[in-house]
Amino acid sequence: MGKTLAEKILSLKSGGDARAGDIVIAQVDLAFAQDTTGPLTIRQFQAGKFERLANPSKTVLFFDHASPSPNRELANDHQFMRRFAEETGCKISDIGGGVCHQLVAESFAKPGDVIVGADSHTVTAGALGAFATGMGSSDVAIVFALGKTWFRVPESLKILVSGEMGRGVMAKDLVLQLIGTIGADGATYKALEFKGEGLKSLKLSDRLTVANMAVEAGAKAGLFPADKVTRDYLNHQKRGEDYQPLAADSDAVYESQININLTALEPTVAKPHQVANIALARELKGIKIDQVFIGTCTNGRLEDIATAAKIMKGRKRHPPTRFIIAPASPQVLLDAISAGYIRTLVEAGAVIMPPGCAACLGLHQGVLADGESCLSTANRNFKGRMGSPEAFIYLGSPATAAATAITGEITDPREVM
């Protein structure tokens, strides 16, 4: 009987025959925390009286969630993390270094890796064929110390992708439709595995967006095979030696199959306060938006900023609607500057944030007021997520976000393209 991607990777890393339902102990290739989970991770590591990291060069602390620090308390947390890095020799990515998941994709993840992070969106690296999953601070502290952890090998749902996305449609629309179809707990404890001829047209940036939101359906991992698209990306990142092809066996066993035809997709939006609460952008016309936010580990990549810039070229944001953009990494920011996208967006009335999580989780750089509505390209629209529990968050693609910035109300991007 063949293996799914999850079974293949966990077999390799546990040195056994890992099958769905088994509990395995697997070696971990990369472990990380960020600045809101890092301090507790370090305290748990210290509570365990561990003296050294199992793999300092494979242990990273990222400063992205509150970066640069917005207040004294978080500044002290940053200081605490920097000291731990000095003492243990782990790597740090300090302020302005970018969003952890983008940096893991750019610089660390490779096909067949096991990656754990103290952040739920660690699943993002599944786009490169890595078994990557979010855990809490205690679990990650133990990985810091031992270099391994236990997993229940997940059952996998096969997501069979066909067709090609049409004008104005982006990977965000694909994943919002998927979550809307299977629900916020439709994949709890399971892996989503993407297959089919439709993958050929999904760039690595698209795959990162899709894998990133696997956790919004409860999934433990969102896995793509490693193929030509992966190889081209790793070559582009000057990491060609990290490539190896990886695919599930043809007779792998899946719990169920969901078919997605990219050609049939339309711009989609998640309404407050659940990601699975979807509608088509055109059905929401007339809903006024106070703030548009483009960025995050979901949609802060060069391709996302390029899409927004092309729509905004020669146009202005709707005057009362605030327009915030946060590139996901310095590489994204520099490439966007070189391509002229940043100029276009600033001329259109956008505010550019430093590489990091920015407004996504209500700590700084675009906190919402009571009663306000935001169209965000992030991955969560839970009540209170962006600051006020009285605010309303709609999630959409960068194209939908840019179109909405122009009109000040939720807008199908095909209307302005």
């Binding site: 979010g134 855990m135 502290a141 031992l146 969560r380 839970f382 009540k383 997520r385």
Partner: protein, 162 residues
């Protein structure tokens, strides 16, 4: 035997309901952070809950962030166990890693304020208020062992490995 009162919540209680991201600046000041437990689901929860009480959820309790502070502030509030129809994966591991049991059972018949008795060893819940008895799913052995040691860090300290 655990005894206490049920605090009933609906489906899809997220980590942002339990402890919102806007309080991240208090994560190194746990006594202050804990004052905001469950704030966006029930603003008065922190003042009403007593030691030993239970949080009773619906489907998909704890979805969202990996923040371990979510089960941590629930534990600090004195809650002895979470009973829920289903639970999000990361929250589940985090709770067990802190020694806080999460029991999967059909919570539909439990009302807010019901007096409950939970027998962890037998896997039973007795609702004294309505007289109903429930059973909950057994946890995997590795989780039972971690709970028995009071959490993951003490477990690894004791055994040195998994």
């Amino acid at each position: 035997m655990l005894k206490g009162r049920a605090f009933k919540f609906g489906d899809n209680i997220s980590t942002d309901h339990i402890i919102p991201g806007r309080y991240a600046y208090l994560r190194s000041n746990l006594p202050e952070l804990a004052k905001h437990v469950m704030e966006d689901a029930d603003p008065d929860f922190a003042t009403k809950v007593n030691k030993g009480d239970f949080i009773v959820g619906g489907a998909n309790f704890g979805l969202g962030s990996s923040r371990e502070h979510a089960p941590l502030v629930i534990k600090m509030a004195g809650v002895s166990a979470i009973l829920t129809k289903s639970v999000a994966r990361i929250f589940f591991r985090n709770a067990v890693n802190l020694g806080l049991p999460v029991l999967i059972c059909d919570t539909g018949g439990i009302d807010d304020g019901d007096e409950l008795e939970v027998d962890l060893a037998k896997g039973t819940v007795y609702d004294k208020t309505n007289g109903e008895k429930l059973t909950f799913d057994r946890l995997p052995k590795v989780m039972l062992d971690i709970l028995a040691r009071g959490g993951l860090v003490p477990y690894i300290q004791k055994y040195g490995d998994f």
